[in-house]
């Protein structure tokens, strides 16, 4: 019997459709960001402020309350990286800064972009504020903030800031 030359590989398209529904907290957050407001939540387990508001505080394993807190669109860089690779489906051209940004009044940072011509100016502790897209373009997403920009404020000592925040959390816990 003559055997054919084995085929080496085949393509296997595997595509599945899913329906995503926003959780209650995500829904509140997304509706607010559509109007240009950033919401967070104070954990009943720890007294710390989480943003975007999760349904559960991971530190204590407790459900978060329904009352959300509005937060300012200013904050501090907790850490960052300068990305030299493109983000798939993004109009951002590398290099750009992806930073963990801690909003004033919050205890948990989230990841966002910093646009700055001189990337070397971005440091841990650097102060930033949101640069929003034009209001007409606002949608249900954190991308309504197009990027963060540096402010003229002096850099923050992270350790000091952390100690102050933990004191405040203790008062609320």
């Amino acid at each position: 019997m003559k055997l054919p030359e084995p085929r080496e590989a085949v393509d296997r398209p595997i595509y599945l459709r899913y329906r995503y529904r926003a959780s209650e907290q995500a829904n509140r957050f997304l509706h607010a960001i559509k109007k240009g407001k950033i919401l967070g939540v104070r954990s009943v387990g720890t007294g710390k402020v989480l943003v975007p508001p999760p349904g559960v505080c991971a530190e204590s394993g407790t459900l978060t309350p329904q009352d959300l807190i509005e937060l300012p669109d200013r904050g501090t860089v907790l850490s960052f990286t300068i990305v030299h690779l493109p983000i798939p489906n993004s109009r951002l051209k590398p290099p750009f800064v992806v930073a963990n940004i801690l909003l004033d009044g919050a205890d948990q940072a989230f990841s966002h972009i910093i646009s700055e011509t001189d990337l070397k100016r971005v440091l841990i502790g650097t102060r930033v504020r949101a640069h929003w897209k034009p209001e007409a373009e606002w949608d249900y997403g954190l991308e309504n903030i197009e990027y963060f920009v540096l402010t003229d404020e002096p850099a923050v000592d992270i350790e000091q800031h952390r100690a102050l925040r933990l004191e405040e959390a203790a008062r609320h816990a």
Binding site: L16, G55, V56, G61, T62
Partner: protein
Amino acid sequence: MRDVAVVSYAQSPAQRDTGGTTDVEMLVPVIDRALADAQLTRKEIDFICSGSCDYLAGGAFSFVMAVDALGATPSAQESHVEMDAAWALYEAWLKFQCGEIDVALIYGFGKSAPGDLPDVLSLQLDPYYTQPLWPDSISLAAIQAQMALAKGCFTERDMAEVVAASRRNAIHNPAAQLKGEFDASDLLKEETFVSPLRKHDCCPITDGCSVLILASAEKARALCERPAWLRGINHRMESHFLGTRDLTTSTSTMKAAGTLKLDGDKLDVAELYAPFSHQQLILQQSLKLTDNTRVNPSGGALAGHVLMAAGLDRFGAAAREIWSGRADRALAHATSGPCLQQNMLAILEGA
């Protein structure tokens, strides 16, 4: 063998679709309830193990987010199987046997509503010859039913009786999704769905989670009036292709039963994880169960089926029978893979 017992169990109400509620939001109240029933706190748990599947809701690392429900700070001893949580329970049971832990919390969770479950489960099949055709899980079960019916293992009426009994039993189970008085003759009048299966022969699709707590001997006696002691646990795998195994019987179940020296005549209760009515009959026959055994007093998977937790639910339901004194000796069964490819058995006793 070290004595280990089921001391607490809680499950979310079975729902077709929990909407936007996340896995972790679903888990927190159920964990709280399981802990409260055993008068335990999160910090008193030595080991946590879970079962879940990324593809159900379509995101990688579903179990990573679920850790948020545990309050695992600064850290916890924790593990995960990408299998039904019954196998998470097995991993924990081994850890007890190693003498490393005294209290373990096991959980399983799944939200099947966001996806199309029968198609998702198609991805379990061999990815070369079978999966590319996208045979769905219901169709595979239907072939199994046809072959068993053709062989005379049971009748369509027997299958309808399984469904009627499941829904009748489920009347007393607050977490059941499908329940009520149904007559087998009426069920048989319904048209077929994927023939020979009718819709009622198939488990519902359910979003939910379950949490179960195991404890070692001394702890168990302190935490629970009448602990459900795990007297033996064994699981076995079969070959994968539908053509390389006998679909009309469950050889892996028989092998596990043999290892456990299980006497099918001496069980008060059997909680069998059968997602399809005919699979319950195949299991009953493989286990040689008699009329002495009440099968699926909870209603079983036909009354509510949280994929990835449904096997763990059989342990919980069997334990409830022991705790209440309704049973002295119960069997818990779990399955995984298409057409009962892999099966687990455990014996639970009240004394």
